[in-house]
């Protein structure tokens, strides 16, 4: 019964989508296109000083969305820690990792950290930014924590870090709101020289905060799922 219903539903959906692709998704003529995005392209260099237009959209033009987005990750981390709470005993690692693995991971960690940091602070010049950079830093943590027995994952520290990064994000926005700009997330720092690391006002600052937050949240997501027994 349920299967039949779902097949009928899906058939309807396919039909629906097929008519849609026939009528709606006709390739639009690029010369006639007018959109917010093309408007942004023409003003991003002067207005935000960010060479990467996607970054300027993510951090500044639609920075409020990004605040919501890190909140969603925060929620996911929080939710997983809620569900895994009743069984949160620290498990004694009995696995004996090989010497090469341990040493290799320790060597790799600073490199990965540095690489993630590089990706984050160059987010306004090259592709990348807070999200992939945060993932790379988090991966560095995983490698160390998976291979060495002596390092323990500190849940409290992570949740403090998550909260602080979120507060910093909002705080940076509020400086804009109560400062000269009179609007939340207003860019209050000088734009600097185009296409260099120290440019684009608050964009790299916010992206760094996002990177820290993403790294902390992802680490706590994965470790809450893995560690609790």
């Amino acid at each position: 019964m349920r299967k039949l219903l779902s097949i009928v539903l899906l058939a309807g959906f396919i039909f629906y989508f097929a008519t849609l692709t026939g009528g709606l998704l006709i390739p639009s003529n690029s010369s006639e296109r007018s959109s917010v995005g093309l408007d942004i392209l023409s003003r991003t260099a002067n207005e935000t000083g960010s060479a990467n237009a996607v970054t300027s959209v993510v951090v500044l033009y639609r920075g409020f969305d990004t605040l919501g987005e890190v909140t969603v990750l925060f929620l996911a981390a929080l939710g997983i820690s809620v569900f895994m709470k009743s069984t949160s005993k620290v498990r004694k690692r009995t696995l004996d990792q090989s010497f090469i693995l341990k040493t290799g991971s320790r060597l790799l960690f600073p490199l990965m950290f540095l690489f993630g940091f590089y990706i984050i602070v160059h987010g306004h010049i090259t592709p990348g930014g807070g999200f992939p950079g945060g993932v790379i830093i988090a991966t560095g943590f995983f490698i160390v924590l998976l291979t060495s027995e002596s390092v323990e994952f500190n849940k409290t520290l992570m949740s403090v870090l998550e909260g602080l990064a979120g507060l910093t994000f909002i705080g940076l926005g509020l400086v804009g709101l109560f400062g000269s700009g009179n609007s939340f997330l207003q860019n209050f720092l000088p734009l600097g020289k185009f296409n260099t690391v120290f440019s684009a006002g608050i964009i790299p600052v916010i992206y760094a905060v996002v990177g820290i937050k993403v790294a902390a949240e992802l680490s706590s997501v994965v470790f809450a799922m893995k560690e609790s027994k």
Binding site: R2, K3, S6, I7, L9, L10, F13, I14, F17, T21, L25, P27, S30, R33, S35, V36, G37, L38, I40, L41, S42, T44, A45, A51, N52, A53, V54, S56, V57, V58, Y61, R62, D65, T66, G68, E69, V72, L73, L75, A76, G79, I80, F83, M84, I125, T126, P127, F131, F194, N195, V214, V221, A224, M225
Partner: protein, 121 residues
């Protein structure tokens, strides 16, 4: 452009196919983890659809890496920013779903929705 197959029709086929496939998996499969996989597929499909709405054939990425690049030769940056948000949200939802499924498994001992009969599915 006389040919019927253009880049945008290919992209639309991809997104439509993935969304329908994802929904099909969600509605017909009984394994909870497989349902979450279906959710991920549908999300990927939507992301391709979103990026394709901003794609202009033959144009470059919206990054002013050198001064010779012209605005008229770039693609729309807004859908790409939206997709970044959507990917992260999708990951958050999948991780949360899997955590819930792990706990449900600990309580019921099965991943099969037809065997979990506490409530009506």
């Amino acid at each position: 452009m006389n040919s019927i197959i253009t880049i945008s029709t290919v992209l639309n086929t991809a997104s439509m196919g993935l969304i329908i496939l994802g929904l099909f998996i969600i509605f017909t499969q009984k394994n909870l983890i497989k349902m979450v996989i279906g959710l991920g597929l549908a999300d990927t499909g939507v992301n391709i659809l979103l990026v394709s709405t901003g794609y202009i054939e033959g144009n470059t990425a919206p990054i002013f890496s050198n001064t010779s690049l012209k605005i008229s030769q770039m693609v729309d940056p807004v859908p790409q920013a939206l997709v970044l948000t959507s990917i992260v949200i999708g990951f958050g939802v999948s991780a949360l779903a899997l955590a819930l499924i792990i706990r449900l498994f600990e309580k019921t001992g099965t991943l099969d929705t037809s065997k979990i009969r506490g409530l009506k599915w």
